[in-house]
């Protein structure tokens, strides 16, 4: 019954000095420190840092335990403290992305396996009810019996004519189109704003009556929260994120609403997006699975003049106050909102209320 290492909480923003040993411990275990980690729970034996575990949003990441301290239940204590820290911040639903070799460790810490990209990483969540519950809710609230059921997942920051073209083209090819808006608070427009703009924009198109807009589930893996601290180059990171996201979609979320088709925009200038789209063909159409194949459709970008319509161009013009030039790039619903927001002088993101 020797004294166990003492735990404390390090705020990444407020205690930069305490991060030096954390960085060193992570490096010792061949890991990096991701930028989005808000806090670390640290374990010290005397003055020595012997363990750490980070929290970024609802993702547990950057955890390491020094070799001498393994096998004494330290990771369980770290996880418990991280769980409480997250609960204090109103987050009860946590995820972990880790190497496949760590899967058993996290399962023993109360996590449930969700998906794996072999040789690269696994995704787990801290409840046995999460994914099953989400699928049940999708089935209950969003399932529409139809022969062809399409899905488009949008970030829409904000909703442009490019998005409008994508959803219209998609809707013309299916009986019902589900549009899922990624729920993270991305840069300029909050999740609430983006969702409202997509809903308004979809309601206004002629195909609107067969489009169902909802917020993305917690199981939409995006690059924004995706960990990179234990992965290699950008291509591996993109393949890892895509592999998890698309398997969850193919195996669980898609079947819950009877999805047959998935629609995605092309990005001629972005190798990352193209890589993601390649992965989409692989995981949804080619890879072996007990779930039915989901056809992937890449919809070409609309262009205005020479340049493709992109949300980043819209944001740049909006930030510069050049609202007159937005007319060609965004549908009237988005334009009306942007004008109203510009009127209040607000060009920084509006915080949205977290669920």
């Amino acid at each position: 019954m020797d004294a166990a290492p003492a735990l404390s909480v390090v705020s990444v923003a407020h205690d930069p000095d305490d991060l030096v040993p954390v960085r060193a411990l992570l490096a010792e275990q061949g890991l990096g420190l991701d930028d989005d980690v808000e806090l670390f729970v640290t374990a010290h034996r005397g003055d020595d840092l012997v363990g750490c575990m980070g929290l970024a949003g609802n993702v547990v990441k950057c955890s390491a335990i020094s070799d001498d301290e393994r096998g004494f239940g330290l990771s369980a204590r770290l996880m418990q403290e991280v769980t409480y820290q997250a609960l204090d911040r109103g987050r009860s639903h946590l995820f972990v992305y880790t190497k496949p070799t760590n899967r058993r460790v996290f399962e023993s810490l109360g996590f449930t396996f969700l998906a794996e990209v072999p040789g690269t990483l696994v995704l787990l969540e801290n409840t046995p009810f999460g994914l099953a519950r989400t699928c049940r809710q999708l089935r209950r609230h969003d399932y529409v019996p139809a022969t062809r059921v399409g899905v488009a997942v949008l970030n829409a920051n904000p909703f442009t004519r490019g998005h409008e073209y994508l959803v219209r083209t998609a809707a013309q090819n299916v009986d019902v189109l589900h549009v899922w808006v990624v729920s993270e608070d991305a840069s300029m427009f909050s999740a609430d704003e983006r969702f409202e703009l997509v809903r308004a924009g979809c309601a206004a198109v002629p195909e609107g009556d067969r489009i169902r807009v909802r917020r993305g589930t917690d199981y939409t893996v995006s690059r924004a929260t995706f960990p990179s601290y234990f992965l290699g180059d950008e291509a591996e990171i993109v393949r890892g994120a895509a592999g998890l996201d698309l398997q969850l979609f193919r195996e669980h979320l898609g079947p819950a609403i009877g999805a047959t088709d998935r629609f995605v925009g092309t990005e001629p200038l972005s190798p990352i997006t193209n890589l993601y789209n390649q992965e989409m063909h692989h995981w949804l159409e080619e890879s072996a699975s007990a779930s039915p194949t989901i056809r992937v459709h890449e919809i070409e970008r609309v262009a205005v003049g020479d340049a493709p319509v992109s949300a980043s161009r819209v944001r740049a013009l909006f930030a510069a106050g050049r609202l007159d030039e937005l007319d060609a790039l965004v549908p009237p619903t988005t334009l009306a909102y942007l004008r109203a927001r510009a009127h209040t002088g607000q060009t920084s993101p509006t915080p949205s209320v977290k669920k």
């Binding site: 369980a76 204590r77 418990q80 769980t83 409480y84 009860s92 109360g110 046995p128 009810f129």
Partner: protein
């Protein structure tokens, strides 16, 4: 008792159990245990009896048992439910 928010009690240390609860419109219980093979039925009975005494009829309840004795499992289930509820514990019922 009604579970109105997500809550946690206990720990993953040896001889303890970590219990998590969350609101739901029906009762769903999941039990994981390091001694499931040997004591799975007994643990399930303890958890269900405790929930029944507490009057919990709706909610998610997950129990991650690390070889806890019955009294500790009972205590952790109660702890998580009290934390997830706005009602005061009524000891005379337990």
């Amino acid at each position: 008792m009604r579970i109105v928010r997500a809550a946690v009690a206990g720990s993953l240390e040896s001889s303890d159990a970590l219990v998590k609860v969350a609101p739901n419109d029906e009762l769903e219980v999941d039990i994981q245990s390091t001694v499931m093979g040997q004591y799975g039925d007994a643990i399930t009975t303890v958890v269900n009896e405790t929930l029944e005494k507490l009057g919990v009829t709706e909610g998610f309840v997950s129990v991650d048992d690390k070889g806890a004795l019955d009294f500790a499992i009972r205590a952790r289930v109660q702890g998580a439910v009290f934390r997830g509820s706005d009602e005061q514990p009524d000891w005379s019922r337990l």
